[in-house]
């Protein structure tokens, strides 16, 4: 049993409710500019405050830290329980650090209903933090579902031409996927000896094999749609392409991680027999996603669609790492979750910056801009190289670890994943070549202005993260090393001897 260590003061609740509390000031703010500044201030304060989590976190233990526990619905043993371990810490930090960038990148792009837009972003931040912090199943589910409403509005109100189709598809797809999640939760609650919804207490219980398999399937559908795994990915390109830049960043960087987080937090420790039974199928779907996503990305002429399909491929690597269930695989998967958040988020920011200038996302409309936008193409190249896992960038470490894990598990899985690496190099380099140099018939791009200070700050922070993780991944791996070991121990203990 993993203990839950309480802190001196409820830092998690403070972080969780800071963005929500920030909304209360909105009626007082007269102009849109003031609202933007205020929202930026709130998210920066949240981001700075979240660094206290990093400094106060003790990576030598797998316990849940900064724990909070308040009885909520005592008659059903439902509690307001928060806590952070190595697995969730990095995701929380990523969420808080990306939120100010989301507001920065919308500074000019959003011109209608600005306050409502900022409210949606702040609600999103609170809900996303809640998903990663919750240690009670009901609390988790509430945040998990509540997040859909602001995201639905972000796509549907501020999105592109086919925004309504995309937002409705996104909402229905993800919600329909999670309808069986509460049923699975209740089944575990009833089967647990203490009748609890507490996530740590539900782990490592001797549930029967058939119950584990059914619960795993219910979990899997919900999480696989969120990841999204092939063949549940069809909502993703539509949602990404139509969403405003900030929406795409939130979607790619944080929302997709919730699916893989769910696998790590719930499936492995609660239903190890289910994982063991279905792992080969999940691995096959992961490989299919890697190859299929790569091939689709290769065929795109729209930058945003290309990045969206590359997400499918990258998330395939994450699920591959998780479901080979060994230290290298899971640590690689976790690191790859962070990397994908940084790199793909940054690529969506880059696409947004071009779109603001040319009002088109077609690669053909923005070829050969290396001369007029040197800073921009430098950043784009760094993120592009990171996306194809070039050594020295963050994704190299993650993908390498995942491949190590796959080869340890079975040579077949590792070999099958290799073409994905080559594909990612192909589609990324193809895009970079055309954007930077283009061909002989480049459109007139001399009117384009290079990045301004705001955009440089936005991308600069992410460039630092890419190189930092790329060259010195150890501090990041250390944060979750003990938690992953503990997770694996729980998994092994749950399997029949």
């Amino acid at each position: 049993m993993v203990a839950c260590i309480s802190g001196d003061w409820p830092i998690l609740s403070v972080l969780l409710f800071l963005p929500l509390a920030g909304i209360l000031a909105f009626p007082l703010l007269r102009s849109d500019g003031a609202a933007k500044l205020w929202a930026l201030g709130v998210t920066i304060i949240t981001a700075v405050a979240s660094l206290a989590l990093y400094t106060g976190f003790n990576p030598a233990t797998a316990d849940y830290q900064f724990g909070e526990h308040i009885a909520w619905i005592p008659s059903l043993n439902i509690n307001y329980a928060l806590g952070v371990d190595g697995i969730s810490l990095m995701l929380i930090l990523m969420t808080t650090l990306l939120s100010p960038l989301c507001i920065l990148c919308s500074w000019r792009a959003i011109t209608v209903r600005v306050k409502e837009f900022l409210v949606c972003l702040l609600v999103m931040e609170s809900a996303m933090l809640g998903v990663f912090m919750a240690l009670d199943f009901i609390l988790f589910y509430i945040f998990w579902e509540a997040m859909l409403i602001p995201m639905f509005l972000l796509i549907g109100v501020w999105g592109g031409p086919r925004k309504i189709y995309a937002s409705v598809k996104f909402f229905l797809y993800t919600l329909a996927g999670s309808v069986l999640l509460p049923v699975a939760m209740i089944a575990l609650y009833l089967a647990s000896p203490t009748h609890t919804f507490s996530i740590p207490e539900l782990m490592g219980q001797p549930y029967s094999a058939s119950l584990q398999c059914w619960v795993f399937l219910a979990f899997f559908v919900a999480f696989a749609i969120k990841v999204p795994m092939f063949p549940f990915h069809t909502w993703l390109p539509a949602a990404h392409v139509e969403a405003p830049t900030a929406g795409s960043v939130v979607l790619a960087s944080v929302l997709l991680k919730m699916g893989t987080y769910g696998f790590l937090r719930f499936c492995l420790p609660m239903t190890p027999i289910g994982v063991q039974t279905f792992a080969p199928y999940v691995l096959a779907l992961s490989i299919a996603g890697i190859i299929y996503g790569g091939l689709c990305a290769l065929a795109q002429s729209d930058m945003k669609r290309l990045v969206a399909y590359s997400s499918v491929a990258h998330m395939g690597f994450v699920t591959l790492g998780i479901f080979v269930v060994n230290t290298a695989g899971i640590e690689g998967g976790l690191l790859q979750m962070i990397n994908h958040g940084i790199t793909t988020g940054a690529l969506f920011l880059c696409v947004g910056m071009i779109y603001e200038r040319t009002h088109s996302r077609e690669i053909a409309k923005a070829t050969g801009i290396g001369k007029v936008m040197p800073i921009y193409v430098t950043a784009l190249t760094i993120f592009g190289l990171s996306s194809l896992a070039f050594p020295g960038t963050n994704s190299f470490v993650g993908e390498f670890l995942v491949l190590v894990g796959s080869f340890q598990s079975a040579t077949l899985w590792g070999l099958l994943a290799i073409p994905g690496v080559i594909l990612s190099a192909a589609y990324m380099l193809r895009m970079l070549q055309r954007i930077i140099w283009g061909g002989t018939h480049n459109p007139d791009t001399s009117y384009l202005k290079d990045l301004n200070a705001r955009e440089c700050v936005t991308l600069g922070l992410l460039v630092v993260m890419v190189l930092w993780i790329g060259f010195a991944p150890q501090p990041f791996l250390e944060v979750f090393h003990v938690s992953v070991q503990n997770l694996l121990a729980q998994y092994q203990a749950g399997l029949p001897m």
């Binding site: 008659s75 209740i186 009833l190």
Partner: protein
Amino acid sequence: MSFSPFVSELILILGSLAVFAISLGTGRGRLAARVTAGIALVNLGACLATVTASGELFCHAYRVDLFSQLFKCFIALGLAAVVLFGSQLRDIRAEIRPEYFFFLLLGTLGLTMLVSCVELITLFIALELSSYALYLLVPLRRERPGLNLQMEAAAKYVMFGVVSTGFLLFGMSYLFGLTGSTYFQEIAPALALQAQQPAALAAMVLVVAGLLFKLAAFPMHLWAPDAYQGASNETTAFIAAVPKVGAVAVLIRFLLCTEPTNTTLSLVLTITAIGSMCFGNLAALVQKDIKRMLGYSSIAHAGYVLLGLVTLQSAGFAMSMFYIFGFLAMSLAAFLVICQVSREGENVLLDDLSGLHARSPLAAFLLAASMFAMAGIPPFAGFIGKFLLLSEALRSGFLLLVIVAAVNTAIGIYYYLNVVRLLYFAAPEGRPAARLSPLVAGTGVVLIVIVTLLGLVPGKLLDAAKTATQKPVAAQDKPGSASPVLPQ
């Protein structure tokens, strides 16, 4: 003897008489509306003040306890909300508006008394008092050239109502014949001894069938969409929510007389629940009139309420209570907006809601919140209510029913989301602005706050509901006798 526990009933009786006196004059529609609003608010205050009261009247046939008072609070809330947001009665002729309020108060009085009745004859009288008053509200709507929807609706409402009353009376006569008593507290132990007799089962099924009419559950649901569509918007707002609360109260009273081991009755209720959910949700998908859509969706909600009742246990009953309370608030919030969007009192089509966000942001927000609540999305009461119902049903081993309910939740989301889509994403196309008066806006906000609070802090009401649905000590209560039948 103290009158204080019965203050709500007294207020409603005196209030009805006062409005009746007003209705004798001419041109007093506005006066009647104001008096009724005052009565409704005083009644709500009185109900909240006497929530812990207890007392008995009429030789133990009429009992005020926590159970009845909780229901009375929400019935009073329903009346107050409908009177506050629907006082204009645009689609009722001016000269009969005082009568409209008179019947509305009488109907509420009947429901208020209904939840306190613990004896069959008293219960029947209270039920008929409320039914007949409500039957009359439907045809009061103004006639439109070539359109007599309200008459068709009234005819269906009365016909089905009378037939279901026949079922109810028939079942009651069996109950009396089997047990020799009309008091619930004597029926329960006597019935337990002959639970396996076909006659006992027939009695319960007939009674339940009669009551399912009020709840608009499959297969007694046929009146609901037509009556919803044909009645004026304010009337629909009332009959869509408040009588259902009363129906749940009486159903719980009857089902408390049975044992949790009565598998046949459980099976009957399970089939009803599955039928209600599937039929209601699937039929709602294709509706164009929002009142009809809500009519079908209310059939589905009746199915969710039955999830708690099939368990035949106190805990399940408590969840059904909680859910119907939450449903009352969401349904009222939705109809509040419908009443305001309709300018002349005409029916509102889904397309009429297009771009309401631009025309009236608050109205759009209220309707969207109630749609999300009905769809069962956190943090509203609809989510936690459904979740609690699912967990109690699963605890009692109804795995199939729970899965059907979960799938139905997904179906429901489609048409609720469609409304939100129209509200926020569709273009207004020159539709006029809908203005909410401060009073109406305040009522709407209070309703949504209630829906949200029930969703976020359900603990107190849930505990109260659990205490209220405990079986009386006289009945044989075997906690935990039904073991979970889960895939182990």
